[in-house]
Amino acid sequence: MKKLTPLLIATSLLIGCGADNKSNDKVITEGSYAVQSVAADYSSSQVAIGNILGDRSATQGLLTQAESNFTISTYENYLYHIGKKDIDTISRYNTTLGVNNSEWTYGANHDDQGSANTYTLVQNTASNGYLIRYGSNFVLQVDPSASDEANFVKAKIDLSAYTVAGASYPRMVDATIYQDRLFVAMQRLDSSWKAQQAYIAVIDLASNEEIDTNPQIDGLKGIPLNATNTFTLVEHNGQLYAAGRGDYGSDTGGLDKISTSTYAVTRLIDENSFPELIDFSDDNDNSNDTYYHVMDVAVVSDQLAYATLNIEKGYTTLETKIVTINPTNGDLAVLSEPAELADKKITDINIDANDRLWLGIANADAPGILVMDTDTNTISGDFIELDMPAKRIEFLTVQ
């Protein structure tokens, strides 16, 4: 009955003590991070922004939405707030002026059937970028500096050839730009959501034509990957790194390195890489087996990269392990330190301009961000507390 007293007080106020929408703002003046976070029941989402150096505490309650299907991309000081499935909008904010008012909001599904479900915007110049759309057969080439929606979409790039028979689209999931080419990773799930061979399509930016990466073989022009169900594609020093989680159950997925000059694929992580993380019982029941799944990758140098491995038992994530990779010699190691990483569920990793590793912690009871020095593998600064699990971490710069 301890709640009755405040109730009686509240009663006297009656109508007028309604729920409030929070209205925060954040103006950045130095290098900053932005994080898209999502409620544990996917009923709402928000963005948080803070400084990369010094006091990193987050300003939360930005861009709150009653949907969870939002993600972010960044380009210099611009933050793009992207509505994914059944939202299909993209809004641009100049974070040096704040995030309360967008510069523009444009549609992202163009003339597609159904929702385009945009996953990310990759941008190479102030006036050129590409919308990578999970629910579409087309990449949209866009002009982010366009002052009206009519001039936003510049061209469409058709990747429907990668659509698996019975499916509706190839499920492009991530992309990166290196020199004069756009690399688009596609999961290629079939109509039953089974992962077929994943591919990276290579697009010549000058012509918007797809490059045939292996003219000696008929068929798809792109780069076939070893690991299925790609989640992440990053580029470092002319090398692509593609993390694929594999299917649910007994497929560990893996990590592939792809040369942007020869398109040769090197397997860095596969199902044999970490036998100590697999607990398999031969009883034809996957639900009691423990497997790792490669979810994300971040690269510091040609000799150091980090990947996240979800340790899953059946359909339950037990924890996330961080592993280090030497992409040059293939050495692998499970990171046992720092202790702050123990029993954490990590949703995203990213490398900032100071070569620090940022880790989004999704444990619902204490979500936040850990920052790690990659030269010592020790925690840098305080834990950045968030109200909700981080889904994506990106960085902003002030010119």
């Binding site: 729920a19 544990a40 159904g114 089974k194 999704a362």
Partner: protein
Amino acid sequence: MRTLFLFSILLLSFNSLANEEIHLGSVTVAANKDELMNSDYQVFQRDDFVNRFQNLASFLQQQNGLQIQQAGGLGNPALISIRGASASQTTLLINGIRANTSQYGGYDLNTIPLNQIDRIEISRSGSSFDLSDQAIGGTINIITREGANNNNISLNLGSEETLATSFSSSFDQGLNIQFDHEQSANNYDYPVPSPANNSRQRNQEQPLENAEFTRTSLQLAQSFDDISARIRFNTQRKNIPDYFRNDPKNNAKLDQQDITLSLQGKHRLEHKNKDKVFASEHHWQLFQQKTNEHYQDEMGVIGLGKDNDKFYQTRSEAQWQSKVLFEQWQFQTQLSGYEDSFISRFLDDDDSYSCTTPQGNCDQKAYQQGMQILAGMRWANKQQNQRISTDIYQSFTHSYNRKRSTVSDSEEDKYTFIGYNLKYSLITEASEVHFSIKHSNRQPSLYQLFGDRGLLRGNTDLLDETSLSYSIDHLFRINDRQQMNSAIFYRQLENAIVPVYDSRGIGRYENSKEAYLAGIEWQWRYQGDSFYSHLGTDVYHSESLDDEVKSFNNKQIAGIYHNSVSLITGWSQQRHNIELINRINGNIYIDRSNLIAGDNYHLIDMNYQYQYAQLSLGFSIKNLVNTQYKDFTNRPAIGRQWMIFTHYNF
């Protein structure tokens, strides 16, 4: 003048009933419209809603302490919240049979056309003597119309090409036949987020495509002195609109056919013991309902892909209830058992039979069996100004689920729960006060226990939701024309079942720790010679505690308006009756993290009736001033709607 079923009069007539005959349910007396509507148990008669409201949901949302959760137009499921409880914590009974499905725990208030309803009973604070209310929030019992003197025909026309017609006729030997048909295009203007033909015109208002609803039902009822039988056949189609793009090529639809058979009996016996006479009454019911559903989405517009799915459900239930009245004592026992079975088939999914892809659909079979035994007692002192009633019950539930293809990985779960209701009442000529304690539970649905083997996983470790509620309900008759109802209540809820997703986006059901909800509801009612008015408010305060999910901890319970005000003013003169209904709802969060506050809104509805001999005409306008707001789902609500009623008794 209206006929009301009055809970309180039962007590006042207790002694005389003991020596003559007993009325074990409620007692019918003639009363003014505003008399004696207690706040913990209300009964509404047919005249209160027929020819005045478009459907049951429209009527119930006028009542204090009730919130209707319906998104979209006619045919969309309408759920109800009683005293701030979630819709799944509220029970809907149809003729005493639970309408909440074991598969999802849900129900649809508008399953029964309003014209087929004879009486609506609403219980809030819990008791087994008025109606069997063991729900965390409260219980609504819909009594359908049957029996003699039920000869009428009606035709209603409304906005969005809505048409409703019904015909009912009673024959000799207690036979009654009733036919109902209703349909609506539901093509109201809707702000489409990304129009299919012009996606740049975001939130452009367009008539909603593919939203049609049609339902036809036929009921035969045969009543004898002690036994009655009913068979009802219902067929309906609900087209599913694409609220996102409003694609004109969308043709998603849900077809449903159901057939219901019920047989019930009531036997009254008198017993002599020396010079004492006491009576007993025994009520039994057998019920079976078979429902087939077919969901088709050829374009894959609505879900994650194309659908051609069939669902088969069967519910069987048997109930026995005996009551004995002896002087100041009344005793009751109830025994009931049920089985709900469920089969799903995803016809166009190659993998659904073997279910090798956990993200995909899975053909499955499931059932839930339950049994409950209840014992209750009611005592009143000789002055009839004090009464104690109590009941205790134990329920057993067995849930089972397996793939259609194999029994090797079947799952099952068993629950036992002991609940109780305790009520003490003080009654004078001018007032009534009821002190109640209710210990209730809600068992996880089959879906929550076992999932659908898709992205939202089941959890066989789920505990049932339990609650302990305290309430004080007060009725004060100010004078012959005015009365005041009020209630104060406090509910402690543990293990509420909620969906939670992990970092990969895979959802599962979990128990949250606990939540509190307290509230004050009051209503002032005035009945003059021709003018009447009701003014009421509901004020709730709630807090959910969950230290395992930071953003849900110390937050207001989402999805419930915490402040409501209603004002009904009416005028009756000879054959005319006109009333205005004002409703203000506010203080709601859409999400459990309390980031998104929902819209506060003020709606005005108007009803008019004209009665001439056996002919009744009328019209109603919902949302008279066309208020634009977003509903509890954060989706734009329907604007102004109207309906014209014609009804003739023959």
